[in-house]
Amino acid sequence: MRGYLLSRLAWAGPIVFCILVINFLIIHVVPGDPIQALVGDFPTPPGYIEQIRHEFGLDQPISTQLGLYLLNLAEGNLGFSFANRQPVLGLVLDRARFTLLLMLQALTAAAILGVVLALAAAPRAGSLYDSGITALSLIGFSVPIFWLGQILVIVFAIKLRWLPAQGMISLRDTPTGWAAVTDVLWHLILPAFSVTIYYVAIVARVARASVLDAMSQDFVLTAKAKGLSRRYVLWRHVLPNALIPVVTVIGYNFGYSLTGAILVETVFAWPGLGNLFITSIGNRDYPLLQGIFLLTAIAVVIANVVTDVLYAALDPRVRSSYGRNA
């Protein structure tokens, strides 16, 4: 396992380096003066342009510039967002927490719910129940997230007035302590629900297919031939084998799930990265956009490494290709 982990990290290293270099090159590809690109369309304090020119060594050869850029990154300097009057790194990390709060619970709920639905549907493949789940999952990921979100807002926030329509905290009275936590959870329900529905649908579809596939494998016959019950065979033999492709699909699609975040955060004014991304486009806030790109790209690489590790944890054949006791 250790050898495997090292090989995955060895793979991630060059990828992250490439991301950094590409991110660096973007500055030079953006039309117009790179300094203008770095600073954005905002009135800058006098001398700042010179400071940037010096910091990034824009008068020097491009290789030196790359080195300086990397050096700046190493110091945590991703630039300054004038639209928000904050350093980019702090701002991005701050907002990333809220996106993670939304997405991680959605992905976790989707993984569990989707797999459970698939386990219920696959053994009755072709039945009314199975067709129902298949139809629902088809609807689930055909319905646009922003549309579903707006419908939910209209019904539960505007008509029924059960739940808040927007934001993450109540603005009128700012609760503290335990009340603050429940307040956030209260605001989380609608956005979480609309994005979860979508992922449940995707996971259920993938999982149903892989459960069906695992059920038709020969070893299932051996398990049944021991006299084990249907339910036991399903949970202990079929599921562990069916999970392998499911984990891979969820993990490798982590990047796409961030697009879901953008949509749902926009509809519900959820103060996460997606929201920040949209406003920074509107503001032509290039340093901030760059920072968001960089961190999400790295997040995707991390998600892939985590996926590979889970994959190896689930499948001993993968571990073995890196040595018996690796």
Partner: protein, 339 residues
């Protein structure tokens, strides 16, 4: 015969069909087969003759949706199991009847340790035993090193996997072990080892065995009685010496001659002339007619017999002309003892 002991398995006139893409395939048609307690019985026939279907239907493991038992019955240890539900089958599987499948890699769970797969059988059938100790005992029984308990299937060789599959089956303490081509996927040396192990274990544990193979030599060396299957029909059966020494059905004769020719010519394959039958479009009457040198008009009307072949008690054949075939041809029984 039938043998003078109690029967662990009786199959009477069993007809099993599969429905696949519109066509109906009769994998078993009026099959008769009996295995006495503690007896070693062989089932031979070329591939596609319905041997695996027989092995599976005895454990209720034929795919429910596409298969149907159209006639006949299966009796296990005196209990009619023909129409059991899946839940009821759980009381038959493993104990009293266990099975070892052909391809040892695909029939082992790739993500579960061998020891755990054996332990499941123990926990299901003899939960009061000390599981870890019993796993070691079973590994020793099938002559696998104790370290195999923590190994995964892909880490073992073909022969070791087959032993693991055997240990899983034996852990259920079966009265009847069905071995469906247990050596086909293995190289010749390993084949001989596994076969010797099977013979030894059967005697030591006193269980009955139904050994299925397309290889005459293997069943001849390991079994007291033999059934010959052709296109879903059991066409001839009896004591091994009788069936192989004085074969009465033209198909058995063809098989033995082809095997002999192959041995003499060092050939790889024993074949008889003509094409293997298409089970979806079988002629009425005897399915062997298109390839049979003895065929006559009568043969296409109805499946003949079963008749008692002359000579040995219990030697039975399903051919009109068994008098002529049996007296006319003397085939030396294959003397090969693969063990």
């Amino acid at each position: 015969m039938p043998p003078p002991r109690q029967n662990i398995l009786e199959i009477e006139g069993l007809t099993l069909s599969y429905r696949a893409r519109g066509a109906v395939v009769r994998a078993m048609d009026g099959v008769n087969l009996v295995v006495g307690d503690g007896e070693a019985v062989g089932l031979v026939g070329e591939s596609g003759s319905g041997k695996s279907s027989l092995a599976r239907v005895v454990l209720g493991l034929v795919p429910e949706r596409v298969s149907r038992i159209e006639a006949g019955r299966i009796v296990i240890a005196g209990r009619d199991v023909t129409r059991l539900t899946q839940a009821e089958w759980e009381g038959v599987r493993g104990n009293p009847v266990a099975i070892v499948f052909q391809d040892p890699l695909s029939y082992l769970n790739p993500v579960m340790q061998i020891g755990r797969q054996i332990a499941e059988s123990i926990l299901r059938h003899t939960p009061d035993l000390k599981v870890a100790a019993r796993v070691d005992e079973l590994l020793e029984l099938v002559r696998l090193p104790p370290a195999c308990a923590t190994a995964y299937p892909h880490e073992l060789s073909g022969g070791m996997r087959q032993r693991a599959l055997l240990a899983i089956a034996l852990a259920c303490r079966p009265r009847l072990l069905i071995a469906d081509e247990p050596t086909t996927a293995l190289d010749v040396t390993t084949q001989a080892e596994i076969l010797a192990l099977l013979k030894d274990l059967r005697q030591r544990l006193g269980m009955a065995m139904l050994l299925i193979s397309h290889d005459l030599g293997i069943v001849a060396s390991a079994c007291e009685r033999i059934y010959v299957m052709y296109a879903g029909h059991t066409v001839e059966w009896g004591r091994t010496q009788a069936v192989f020494g004085y074969p009465a059905h033209p198909y058995t004769i063809g098989l033995l001659k082809a095997a002999q020719a192959a041995r003499n010519a060092q050939g790889r394959f024993a074949t008889i002339s003509g094409d293997p039958p298409n089970l979806a479009e079988l002629p009425t009457g005897c399915p062997f007619v298109p390839r049979c040198p003895y065929a006559m008009a009568e043969c296409s009307r109805a499946m003949p017999g079963p008749f008692d072949a002359q000579g040995d008690a219990g030697h039975t054949v399903r051919c009109w002309r068994y008098h002529e075939t049996a007296s006319g041809i003397a085939v030396a029984r294959p003397a090969r003892d693969a063990g």
